[in-house]
């Protein structure tokens, strides 16, 4: 299968940095051990393996685990119809990895969004500023320790912000590394 071959070629080129390809629901995922090499790996995937289309860059907050951030790159080869996922971990103290803007132009806005929502910086990005929240917003909303209701901010040009009226309500996500069942208040015993 094309994707599996490409994953093996990637592993052959980069050796121990790339993990064994894992398969789930028909999708192949490889894990990159060192986030600093992501630009080289992606460049190789684009130039030699033909993954010229970057579908998406996502970020996951593994709250409570170290390394805290996982950045997920979904690649696609249009001619062979193959999709490959490359994951890489970034620790919280570092919170930085190289940008893949040189490989695909679409990663510009994806990386800005990840910086805006999670706070992971991308080295080499020409214009890393907030895209969905306003300039000067002090928090990173998608982190697990940021409440859904929000925190009040004091940004003078923008309207004041308040906490949404649902503190203590049923849709508060508790930050923890447990699964969704243990985080949902309605299936926990009330304290």
């Amino acid at each position: 299968m094309f994707t599996l071959d490409s994953a093996h070629q990637l592993k052959a080129k980069f050796g121990d940095l790339i993990s064994e390809p894992a398969e789930f629901r028909g999708e192949i995922t490889v894990k990159l051990a060192d986030a600093e090499q992501i630009a080289e790996v992606c460049g190789f995937a684009k130039m030699k393996l033909g993954f010229e289309y970057l579908v998406d860059i996502s970020s996951v907050d593994n709250y409570g685990e170290d390394p805290r951030w996982t950045v997920v790159y979904d690649l696609r080869n249009l001619t062979n119809n193959a999709e490959l996922r490359i994951k890489t971990d970034v620790s919280e103290e570092k919170s930085e990895l190289p940008s893949v803007l040189g490989v695909w132009a679409t990663s510009n806005w994806h990386e800005r969004e990840i910086y805006d929502m999670m706070g992971i910086r991308f080295r080499g990005h020409p214009d890393l500023r907030r895209i969905l929240m306003w300039e000067g917003y002090p928090y990173f909303p998608l982190r697990k320790d940021f409440p859904l209701a929000g925190k009040p901010t004091n940004v003078p040009e923008v309207a004041f912000t308040e906490i949404s009226p649902m503190e203590g309500g049923p849709f508060v996500t508790l930050p923890s590394s447990g699964d969704a069942v243990s985080r949902e208040p309605r299936v926990r015993n009330p304290e």
Partner: protein, 177 residues
């Protein structure tokens, strides 16, 4: 043509001249030409466009012209979710509208934040601008928006315009008697 019930003004009986109070006349002119300022932010904006289209025709109520210029409109219809990033601009545009002005908060998101109880959504546009009519629904049916417009028209129809003008004149010290 003979009609069964006489509603309103029949020129055969009353003739071609109508005698009324200035307040009533001004209110009648004003209420039948409420030009909306569509603040179409999200999905309710599409239903607002449907209200303006041919099936639910808002122009038969006089709101023919959906002026996107705040200086030329009377009623701001906030249709959609107001986020904190957008809130400052909504307020700014509201401030640019000339009095008298009214606001319809269309939909659940504009009224109270709707189903978006999150860090980025203003829980109701009435935190920043005074709202006259709240329309519920997600999105409200176009008939509901027209109902809100009719409510605003009824409210305008009862306003004592002339006494307000006199008050303004007194406050600004101009020589209107």
């Amino acid at each position: 043509m003979q009609t069964q019930s006489e509603i309103g003004y029949n020129s055969k009986i009353e003739g071609d001249v109508v005698i009324t109070r200035i307040d009533a006349a001004l209110a009648w002119f004003q209420k039948n030409s409420v030009w909306p300022m569509p603040m179409g932010l999200a999905c309710c904006g599409i239903e607002l466009m449907a209200v303006g289209a041919s099936r639910f025709d808002i122009s038969r109520f006089g709101s023919e012209v959906m002026r996107f210029s705040p200086r030329q409109s009377d009623c701001m219809i906030v249709a959609g979710t107001v986020t904190y990033k957008m809130a400052g601009f909504v307020k700014r545009i509201y401030d640019q509208m000339l009095a008298p002005k009214w606001v319809i908060a269309m939909g659940a998101c504009a009224s109270t934040g709707g189903m978006y109880r999150s860090y980025a959504v203003l829980q109701g546009v009435d935190h920043i601008i005074p709202v006259d009519v709240y329309v519920s629904g997600c999105p409200p049916r176009p008939e509901a928006v027209l109902d809100a417009l009719i409510k605003i028209q009824n409210q305008i129809g009862k306003e004592p315009i002339l006494s307000k003008l006199n008050l303004v004149a007194k406050l600004t010290g101009s020589s209107k008697s």
